[in-house]
């Protein structure tokens, strides 16, 4: 019976298996790295917006406080988006007829919301309370970066569950005194103790603390 395989076939098979295994491991590694990459979490990628709004101009240049537009941030779960009437409070006089601001005027006329695109999207199965974080001493900058320097709003942190947990496991080094939360030039040191005041604090790493 003739030989079906050459003497080197065994070696080739072994090499092929080895390469295949390496490719599998490599693909797994690549996937592992990819899903953790900033690209996968849309870090640094601006979302298309109905109005070319610049935080750099409003918050940075004009020096508006974050809370002027995101009024609910200290007490509500959602920081809140400014209403069209709030925007038009100034833009009724400044740039009043600009076509870029047409969505604001339409919104007020129709009573319809302005369809901003979400840059920091909160998944449906997660709850997040801005007020609770502010009260604990987490500054705006800690999660959102230096928004007042952004012409287009972008995400600077991945906001993955792992990123949340990094802080929830050891919040102290990342916190500020509560009065410094809105301070853009704060250079101090974190307060020594967990500033969570009163009440029974549920351990921050419990699933049900953030998930619903």
């Amino acid at each position: 019976m003739p030989q079906h395989f050459t003497p080197r076939a065994d070696g080739r098979l072994r090499l092929a298996l080895l390469l295949g295994l390496a490719a599998l491991i490599g693909a797994a590694l690549l996937a592992f790295v990819m899903v953790r990459s900033d690209h996968a979490w849309a870090v640094g990628r601006p979302a298309p917006q109905p109005i070319p709004f610049s935080h750099a101009l409003h918050a940075g240049g004009l020096g508006l406080d974050c809370r002027y537009c995101h009024a609910g941030v200290e007490r509500a779960a959602e920081a809140g988006m400014p209403s069209a009437s709030l925007c038009l409070g100034c833009h009724g006089d400044v740039w009043a007829g600009a076509t870029a601001l047409a969505p604001l005027r339409d919104s007020l006329a129709l009573g319809a919301p302005i369809p901003w695109s979400s840059v920091h999207r909160l998944p449906d199965h997660t709850r997040f309370h801005h007020g609770a974080h502010i009260a604990a001493g987490a500054a705006c900058e800690t999660c959102h970066g230096r928004v007042w320097e952004m012409p287009q709003t972008i995400k600077v942190r991945p906001m993955s569950m792992g990123w949340c947990l990094d802080c929830h496991r050891e919040p102290e080094p990342r916190l500020r005194p509560v009065e410094a939360v809105f301070d853009r030039d704060w250079q101090g040191r974190p307060p020594p103790a967990n500033p969570h005041a009163g009440g029974a604090v549920s351990p921050l790493t419990q699933c049900s603390t953030c998930h619903r």
Binding site: H125, A197, C207, R212
Partner: protein, 904 residues
């Protein structure tokens, strides 16, 4: 999909395709739905709550509307309103679904074709111009029962402008006999207002005070309080019921006398109590003990007659109350603007009298609820139907206009006790062309005002100009107008009162017509939540059945699900039968509200339409009816067949259940520091009204699965109500997740998708769940529900969705979370304020809805909390306690009825 199993290649192809999809999904993926980031046009988009009022049978129940982004997402009871006291009924809970119903009528139509709304205004103006010269002759206004001061004012104005016009109120379930009975007894129509808080002995004659109705919440609360006080005192109040068709009150009665006709029994009671002036006496074997129990309670006794009872029974009930000197029964002016007959026969007479050339049917659907009147309603020169749906009446009328939902517009109403409340819009109007009843009347009157201005005008007339604004705002904020309840009347029994001669005993099988517990006369048939909610006593959903006594069924050779031909006075229809032990022999119950002809996708042809057999002259009972087997089977969709496991214990007064010592466990113990949530459900208070189940559905975005899936046992309700029926009692047992400390579901999950948190909640991690359903298989309480389909995305009702609760994708298990989002909200709020969570601060949706406050929820680590105190009671027991799952939800056992006089 074909039924043949896919071959190996097919499986591989699918696997490859799904891998490719998974790889593609690593990109940013589709935008998460239901989470828009909207800047509101004006004001904040935060959660807000509005006090308003909803009507049932023309009478209001106060509600608080929780609103998000302009949409009403959940209704809760208004604690300040006398007809709510903070609780809700199934209809109030389901109102948000009706509001967001995609099948709502959206366009003004003429001859079935959409027309611009201005065309209707022009038509109404020309009707006015045409009718004014002839004083309105030929105009017939048909409305539902009107208690609203504004609507009443406008109708009076219409009748003033058009003196020859007529106005007929129509409600197929109206208590016409009650008013006539009161007139026979007292010489004037009065409304009865029993105060169960004072009652020691209640006899309901075909009445269903604990069942659906505008006063249900109040009566149920008062009754449960009287019972709680009785439990503490060791002397329970007695509830006795004599009825032909099973009701919630009958199920909850300490003594239920199932009888075909109540009238002979009522006469026997009156005879035994020596009611003066009674011409025709009677005897009944059960009368003596019942009369004795009533006599013993004396002025704390009360007799109620239901709307379905003949006039004689109504008059007799009044006379018995007068003889007993009952202080429980109070009387007030009927809250309606014009009390009078409102049933089908009254409408038939109004349609027949005079030549009706202009027919305005506003907010009712007589062609749907009284098919016998269809012929007389059609072919009028001008006809307009104002309704939420293009229903049976809309098809008969030339014009149709969409009716604004109660939550969308302005109005006012009165409660069963007369308390007025102002109805304010609590949501963004969803149908731009919709108009309110008041708006149509104003158009007919040629007024320019609409909506709020009309209501303001009414109240300005009664309050005056001075100080109007603060009063108006206070009334809107409170949801009630202070001090408007009807003053009590003290009518005296007429000396010459006469209940009328005894009715001749009907021969043959008697047909009893009864409103469906959730659809009533069919007006709620288009609401999928109410259709899918299992009826309390039959556990049927998405349809109805003829209820037959088991003895009669055996005699006719019928079993559950057999189709029969029901024949009554020459009319006939086909329907499935359901033998029910509570149904007395000699009569059958035909539930109304099914089989709608034009009920939209949800409501059309669900079950059979008993109204087809209903004669306007005798709307509640008729005979003889015959049932003939057709040989076919008709599916009855039920969520419970047979009796559930572990029937609840019934304790003698003072008896207690020994606490069960926890057994050894293989699993490590766990201590709960801080809060540990738990629930106690009082089976002695539960009346089985289903409010908790539907409140849970509304709160937790639980999907509707439809009749086919319910028939497969795939209903999604997180909270079900088990029905335990025994010889002498019926117990309703609400069963949510037990949140076992030794949860059998957790240890079998292969992916750790169901876990405990530090407060003892057994929770689902939906993204982890891979849908093995092993947890459900291992759950002894069977409270876990599986998403067989992608209901969340297919439902389309996103505006209605509670944003605090995520929707679950296909292929995952879901279940009760103890309203974990409410706990988290309270916890965050407490932390922001730097204080611990207070007892009672977290109320689950089911607890909030419960009219009898049977559900207690709170921190079991706090010995002073209400739930800890409830669990300390001797009645506390765990469902399937022998399994030692250490459930956090426990039950308080029913107390056996005391002496109801049956022993003599």
């Amino acid at each position: 999909m074909t039924d043949t199993p896919p071959d190996r290649r097919e499986v591989l192809r699918l696997a490859a395709a799904s891998l490719a999809l998974a790889a593609a999904g690593c990109d940013s993926g589709p935008d998460e739905f239901g989470h828009p980031l909207h800047g509101a046009a004006e004001g904040g988009g935060e959660a807000a709550s509005f006090a308003t009022v909803l009507e049932l049978g023309g009478l209001g129940r106060g509600v608080l509307v929780r609103r998000r982004g302009g949409h009403a997402i959940k209704l809760e009871g208004n604690p300040d309103h006398p007809a709510s006291l903070g609780a809700t009924d199934v209809f109030a809970e389901a109102a948000v679904l009706s509001l967001h119903d995609p099948a709502r009528s959206r366009r003004v139509r003429e001859g079935g074709r959409p027309r611009p709304p201005a065309a209707l205004d022009a038509a109404l103006a020309s009707v006015r111009a045409e009718l004014l010269p002839r004083g309105g002759a030929g105009l017939l206004l048909v409305t539902g029962p009107i208690a609203s001061p504004t609507t009443a004012r406008l109708i009076r104005a219409v009748l003033q402008d058009f003196p020859a016009a007529r106005w007929q109120q129509h409600d197929p379930l109206a208590d016409d006999a009650g008013l006539e009975g009161a007139t026979r007894a007292f010489g004037q129509p009065v409304a009865t207002l029993p105060d169960f808080a004072l009652a020691r002995c209640v006899l309901a004659l075909g009445a269903d005070p604990l069942g659906p109705g505008p006063a249900q919440l109040r009566l149920a609360r008062d009754w449960s309080h009287a019972r709680a006080e009785g439990r503490d005192r060791g002397d329970l109040p007695v509830l006795m019921v004599a009825e032909a068709t099973p009701t919630l009150t009958g199920a909850r009665a300490d003594r239920r006398l199932a009888m075909r006709e109540v009238e002979p029994f009522t006469r026997a009671i009156a005879t035994a109590l020596r009611v003066p002036g009674l011409a025709d006496t009677g005897t009944h074997p059960e009368a003596a003990p019942v009369a004795k129990a009533l006599l013993r309670a004396g002025e704390a006794a009360v007799v109620l007659a239901g709307p379905s009872q003949p006039v004689a029974v109504q008059a007799l009930a009044h006379a018995i109350n007068a003889t007993l000197g009952s202080t429980v029964m109070r009387h007030v002016e009927p809250p309606f603007a014009r009390p009078g007959p409102m049933g089908d026969s009254a409408l038939a007479a109004a349609l027949a009298a005079g030549a009706v050339t202009h027919l305005l049917v506003l907010g009712v659907n007589p062609a749907g609820t009284a098919p016998a009147l269809r012929g007389t309603m059609a072919q009028r020169p001008f006809s307009l139907h104002l309704g939420a749906h293009v229903d049976e009446t809309a098809h008969l009328c030339r014009w149709h206009a969409p009716l604004a939902h109660e939550l969308e517009g302005w109005g006012d109403t009165r409660a069963f006790d007369g308390t007025a409340a102002i109805r304010q819009p609590a949501t963004t109007p969803l149908v731009p062309e919709a108009r309110g009843l008041d708006d149509v009347l104003a158009a007919l009157l040629g007024l320019a005002e609409r909506g709020e201005a009309l209501v303001r005008a009414t109240w300005q007339a009664s309050w005056g100009e001075a100080g109007f604004e603060p009063r108006w705002r206070a009334a809107l904020e409170a949801g009630v107008v202070e001090g408007t309840e009807s003053p009590a009347l003290r009518p005296a029994l007429r000396a010459d009162w006469d209940p009328g001669p005894p009715a001749p005993p009907p021969s043959g099988l008697l047909a009893i017509f009864a409103p469906d517990p959730h659809l009533l006369d069919g007006r709620f048939a288009e609401n999928a939540w109410l259709q899918e909610l299992p009826r309390p006593l039959t556990k049927t959903a998405w349809g109805n059945a003829v209820l037959v006594a088991p003895a009669d069924a055996a005699a006719l050779g019928l079993t559950a699900g057999d189709e029969v031909l029901v024949e009554l006075a020459g009319r006939s229809l086909k329907a499935p039968v359901l033998p029910l032990p509570a149904q007395p022999s000699g009569c059958v119950t035909l539930p109304l509200g099914g089989g709608r002809e034009a009920g939209g996708e949800v409501g059309t042809a669900r079950g059979f339409d008993a109204a087809l057999l209903r004669d306007p002259a005798s709307p509640w009972a008729a005979g003889p009816v015959t049932l003939r087997r057709t040989g076919q089977r008709a599916a009855i969709i039920a969520t419970q067949t047979g009796m559930p496991a572990d029937p609840p214990p019934v304790l003698a007064p003072g008896e207690s259940i020994p606490p069960r010592a926890p057994g050894p466990s293989l699993y490590p113990g766990w201590t709960y520091e801080g809060q540990a949530w738990g629930m106690a459900i009082d089976l002695d208070s539960c009346i089985g009204c289903n409010a908790c189940a539907i409140a849970c559905q509304a709160e937790n975005n639980t999907p509707v699965v439809g009749p086919q899936e319910v028939a497969r046992g795939r209903e999604m309700h997180w909270l079900r109500i088990d029905l335990h029926q025994a010889e002498d009692h019926t117990i309703f047992q609400p069963v949510p997740c037990m949140h076992c400390e030794k949860a059998p579901c957790e240890v079998v999950c292969p992916v750790n998708a169901t876990v405990h948190d530090d407060q003892g909640l057994n929770l689902m991690v939906y993204p982890r769940c891979i849908g093995t359903r092993t947890c459900s298989n291992n759950c002894p309480y069977k409270v876990r529900r599986f998403n067989w389909f992608d209901y969340a995305r297919s439902e389309g009702g996103l505006a209605l969705r509670n944003p605090d609760v995520p929707v679950r994708p296909r292929g995952v298990i879901e279940k009760c979370t103890y309203c974990q989002h409410r706990i988290a909200t309270a916890r965050t709020q407490a932390r922001l304020e730097g204080r611990p969570v207070r007892d009672g601060e977290v109320e689950t949706a089911c607890q909030r809805a419960c009219p009898t406050q049977a559900i207690t929820f709170g921190d079991v680590n706090d010995p002073a909390s209400a739930v800890s105190r409830a669990k300390e009671e001797g009645r506390n027991y765990a469902l399937l306690g022998e399994l030692d799952t250490r459930p956090r939800t426990t039950y308080l056992a029913r107390i056996a009825p005391g002496d109801t006089g049956s022993a003599g």
